[in-house]
Amino acid sequence: MSEPFQAVKVSERVYWVGAVDWNIRDFHGYQTGRGSTYNAFLVTGESNILIDTVKKPFFDEMLSRVRSVIGDAGIDCIVSNHAELDHAGALPDAVRNLGPKKILTSKMGARALHDHFGTGLDLSIVKDGESRSIGGIDFTFLETKMLHWPDSMVTYLPGDRVLFSQDGFGMHLASTERFSDEIPNEILEQEGAKYFANILLPFSPLVTKLIERIKSLDLRIDILAPDHGPIWRKDTGRMPELWAKWALQKPKAKAVIVFDSMWQSTETMAKAIAEGLVENGISARFMPLQVFHRSDVATELLDAAGFFAGSSTLNKHLLPRMADVLTYIKGLKPRNKMGAAFGSFGWSGEGSQQVHEMLESMGVEMVGAPLAARYVPDANDLESCRQLATQAATRIFEHIEDK
């Protein structure tokens, strides 16, 4: 009887044995609108080696794909490039069912795997830059600390010129197609940017260094095999090039206007700001939080120069959805932004001031004092919004020149 799930051949000795998660939409706060995949890879030949595993509930799917290649044989080794549970969750099950003699991981990977699964796993630590033969197959391991966890590393298979890049160069995208050349470019770029903006942005300087390092090592990459989304067998330099570009956070003549409103007053101010920006040649993304998710705000901010945030005041505070988004964005450490805060209020008016302080604390260059309008913005308030936008536009154009 054939296995219900089949492996997909990637190169002479590499098979994709991962799982497709069609249902996931909330990846700890990142909205994965197109689902995801957890890619695991089986290297075959003189020995059988599994590179990463999948999220625990998908173990049976992975096991079936492994069995479709090696039948009842066991595996010799598991390489754990990343200890996060979407890749290591099924590791204990894989150990029980496939009986590897060893598990290779980075030093921080060993710490993280022990902390997750106890000390029962037999771990062997590989050093940064180390080359090792596993059962007759040569591999090279490179630590990629903080891209995006301390344990992160990538594994290179020189024989087939495959780079197993764990979360690196990945994207959340469920599909029946396994290769990027079978998927429309716009989708690859959109989901790639979303992934970068939401996961890698705080580590942008390290991304730049990693890409330089890969270049200096002169690794020939025929297959780029990340742990999420499609595998690249053509144009393998494309996603790394995009990462190099995104890591610079070079701002465009674009602004994000993100806000939450109670009775459309803050929204009216947001519209006046948008009008002022557009009239002055800045393209504006209008993002009411009743509709837009925090992870879409992060994506739009990736190449924006302007960052305008608004909130009305509720019980002496900014609105909770705004606090959510600003906290999230602050953690992502966006660079090269300038902007302002705004919002309506009834009697006390703390909301726009709190937004202003949050923007300032994340290093946004403030274009002016927070704009506040009582109850409903009148013609003067709206004029102030337009003026602020006009000033901001001038500064944005100067700022873009500098960067």
Partner: protein
């Protein structure tokens, strides 16, 4: 003065540079960093640092 490396994230503390964003003047040795100082990149404490080889 010796440089120290954060084991968790790879950040290198260079005494010649200090950590000015967090109020540490250039010329401050690793030993003289206050115990409350944390890695500016990943946020772990001084105990996670090792002298650079």
């Amino acid at each position: 003065m010796k440089k120290y490396v954060c084991e968790v994230c790879g950040y290198v503390y260079d005494p010649a540079q200090g950590d000015e964003e967090n109020g540490i003047a250039p010329g401050t040795s690793f030993e003289d960093l206050p115990d409350s100082w944390v890695c500016p990149m990943c946020g772990v404490g001084k105990s996670e640092f090792e002298p650079q080889e």
